[in-house]
């Protein structure tokens, strides 16, 4: 790592102030992406602002049909939460499948979606469940939050405070893991709600997105077979040494199908 100044923020206001004062500051949540990047000397922030001590960013609450998860909730917290397990079991399962136990004990929901890694799991859930991202400045709808590869709608001094997830009639997440990194080569989150089907796809393209064609087919016929006839645009798919665009497009359909079957 290069040298940096470390700040442990006691409140959101503290954290934002430290960021504004920094020459080139970065918030750190669980550090599961930030720290390895810094160790590889691929990132050299002048200031690292630790959000770990901010009480208002933690906690999981339920109000009616909405589960609100604090931004600093770890993947392990979410996976183990009896509230999440009861109300959105697919979300708890997704959290329990991120990385490995060590990663899950440190990685956070807020950190994950603020980073918007094209292969991260949470974005698919946020999109499919039509969640609302709450920040220190405003509320952002899922459809507006993820804007590009590693890019979100967040401003530089904007912090995610929590994410509110509405429950679904049924939902499931199916992920095809990269055998090396165990990130999603393709991950599909299917949510059946009163207002119709929503599908969130991660790993397949540079940014997690709504699987509109899959939604159309599934709104017509909520079955695994309905996914088979959908044409997934190969030209939009990522391609790398682990999976070609063609294979990825195929996997989107397969994971969607399996998610639908798991919804039953």
């Amino acid at each position: 790592m290069y040298e940096f100044s470390y700040h442990k923020a006691g409140s959101v206001a503290d954290a934002v102030e430290a960021m504004n004062k920094a020459e080139d500051g970065k918030f750190v949540a669980g550090g599961q992406t930030m720290l390895p990047t810094m160790k590889h000397r691929l990132a050299s922030p002048s200031d690292v602002i630790d959000l770990g001590g901010i009480a208002e960013l933690s906690g999981i609450t339920v109000e009616g049909n909405t589960v609100t998860i604090g931004a600093m909730s770890t993947h392990a917290d979410v996976a183990a939460s009896t509230d999440v397990q009861a109300m959105i079991p697919a979300l708890a399962k997704l959290a329990g499948g991120i990385g490995d136990p060590a990663v899950r004990n440190r990685g956070t929901l807020g950190g994950s979606i603020a980073n918007n890694d094209p292969a991260a799991d949470y974005p698919a859930a946020v999109i499919a469940l039509g969640a609302t991202v709450k920040t220190n400045k405003r509320e952002i709808a899922a459809d507006d939050f993820f804007t590009g590869m590693f890019e979100t709608a967040l401003a530089e001094d904007e912090l995610i405070t929590a994410v509110s997830f509405p429950t679904a009639e049924s939902a499931a997440y199916m992920k095809f893991e990269n055998p090396a990194s165990r990130y999603a080569i393709v991950g599909v989150f299917v949510a059946k709600t009163g207002a119709g089907v929503r599908v969130g796809v991660t790993g397949a393209t540079p940014c997690a997105h709504r699987g509109m064609r899959l939604e159309e087919a599934l709104n017509n016929d909520f079955s695994g077979a309905a996914c088979e006839g959908v044409e997934i645009p190969v030209a939009k798919m990522n391609t790398d040494i682990h999976a070609s665009a063609e294979y990825r497009a195929h996997l989107v359909k397969v994971m969607a199908k399996r998610a639908v079957v798991a919804c039953a």
């Binding site: 790592m1 290069y2 040298e3 590889h40 000397r41 095809f176 990269n178 055998p179 090396a180 990194s181 990130y183 040494i241 682990h242 999976a243 070609s244 294979y247 195929h250 996997l251 397969v254």
Partner: protein, 783 residues
Amino acid sequence: MAENGIGASVRRKEDKRFLIGKGNYTDDINVAGQTYASFVRSPHAHATINGIDTSVAKASAGVVAVFTGDDLAADGIGPLICGVTVTSDDGEPHRAPAHPALAQGKVNYVGDHVAIVIAETLAQAKDAAEKVDVDYTALPAVTETGTAADAGQPQIHDLAPNNMCYNWPFGDKDAVEAAFASAHKVSSLDLVNNRMVTNPMEPRAALGEYNSGTEEITLHLTTQNPHVHRLVMSAFNQLAPEHKLRIVSPDVGGGFGAKIFVYAEELVVGWACRKVNRPVKWTGDRTEAFLADAHGRDHVTTAEMALDENGKFLAMRVMTKANLGAYLSTFSTMVPSYLYVFLLAGQYTTPLIYSEVKAVFTNTAPVDASRGAGRPEATYLVERLVDVAAADMGLEPAEIRRRNFIAQDAFPYQTPVVQCYDSGDYETALDKALVLADHDGFAARAEEAKSRGLLRGIGLSSYVEACGIAPSAAVGQLGAGVGLWESAQVRFNPTGNVQVFTGTHSHGQGHETTFAQLVTEQLGVPIENIEVIHGDTAKTQFGMGTYGSRSLAVGGVAIAKACEKLINKGKKIAAHALEAAEGDIEFTDGNFTIAGTDKGMNIAEVAFNAYVPHSYPEGLEPGFDENAFFDPLNFSFPAGTHICEVEVDPETGVVDIVRYSAVDDFGRLINPMIVEGQVHGGIAHGIGQALMEGCRYDSEGQLITASYMDYAMPRADNVPNFDVDYAPTDPPDNPLGVKGCGEAGAIGAPPAIINAITNALGVKHIDMPATPENVWRAAQSAA
């Protein structure tokens, strides 16, 4: 069997310190005044160096020194050598371009060593390393094994036109051609043996200390063979005279071959500590391990088998291109030649074999021995070709093997490719494996899997390998610059406990336990009173180190012979003490007794006697401390059959290994628990190669699998429980009746797995690694 002796699954003595965090690895060692080193490495696969400006780096905070290739050369430090000569088909020795420890005017692979920066802290060294300004002119890179020697490719070394190191033909080309011409059937196969990064858990490290008073350099290294390092660094690199160079290889976290070789960092650190007159410490990180540890395998082959109408193998022809990387690593030339071609007979009576190996240079990391070293490449090719031939002939895989096995009574068996197999019973191992794998029940299991939409396949691999490396005369004739005997010193202390100094090294094999078991069995000393010492050239006599599954087969016999000498001496001492004739003294279970009586003395008493020789045989030297050097008469030839059962999901191409059975002949087992562990580890290694691991460079020579994000190694959930059994035979050449076992799993597994997948899919072949996408595509094309 003595308690804790041969055949007992004694818990490992070394595990205590490893489990409580008291292991002593090179990076754990810190000495007063030490400095830290960071290496500047080439970001280009192929480039000329127009100049190196170290001025800014030298002026950087905390920097003690910055050195380049010119500094090394000025001090007469010679380039890294390759110790095995292969004669090319033009009658000349292989082309050996210089391999400077720090680049001289040119860099030839990404990660190539260019300069060393030494500073007070590691962070300062790294910061300064970034400030070393190297003026490169990038050149086009050669990266593909199959085409590196083609006309028109960029030339890497002036000394090696067409990037050829050697072209090594072997066998009777005309006789083989005649056999093919008159064959009933010719089966052929193009296949790739995928490049592997060896990945021991502990990265390489070096700590150099110079004592200006005694002019001695002490180098702590993560080497599998400290004396070999000392010899090479002294005699060939001119680092220091041998008696002024101490190499210590303490606890080492795995080697698997990658830590055999003399590496640039090790030599440079050894030299630099004297140059700056302060200790210099370098610890590689994982990225450096990926970039700059020697890689393994990387063959492209066309293989053909000629058969008669009964499926009998008449002849085999193998044309291989083998990648040696940018420079010759210490044993590299030997791996795709002697360690490969000489195993092409496999378990079969194939009478005629012709091969040509073209060893090529590319702008990639040097390639050298890696668990199995040449024998996995041979076995993979033979066992895949045999399965292809079986399909061509309409024979079951087990049946075609039976028709061609070397018969149990035909040993020692002289193959047409130099190796003379010691002992074997291939049919028994096959039969045992078929039962262990419930081969008969496979059809029903496959049916059931089909109902779940999954494809099951079963694959055999009947391998034989050559290890227990090696008879000195044989390897000398082949062009090795060393002999491959082994040494042992068994020393009693006056109080009766024993120290065993072995020239081998233990970096995970459990020798501190196994060798103690040998001694407790032979000498009757309780195992807790036996200490096995290895790894320090100041403590232990010269030895050749550990690789090629040699430590027990060669090093163990040296220990046994030293023990024999002690017993013979002990008889003299006991006879005198007991006032009996030497011929009347028997030795059993640690006691020298007068035959037919209960009058005797324990070996510990005899030892004390020898050190306090108040009443002692005249003319006999005091002391109870014997050494022995053992040169093996032959390689040892473990063999067996592995059977792999897979379940393939045709929708995703994911391969699940649902069952894996291994029946191996390792001769006599000293510690069955340790042997089983080696089998497990070897099979896991093979699973990695077959399904997951693939070291890849892009067309510009950038290593694109340079971390665990992209290089997939098997984890616990990738491997099944293994069913392991043994079908031992007794090798006549080995006084202990043992064969090596450390590499066999990595040798036997890959073809068993690929044979299972091709069986599941009904396709002729699929290359390794059989990743989900590759399998999916193969399944698509088969459908």
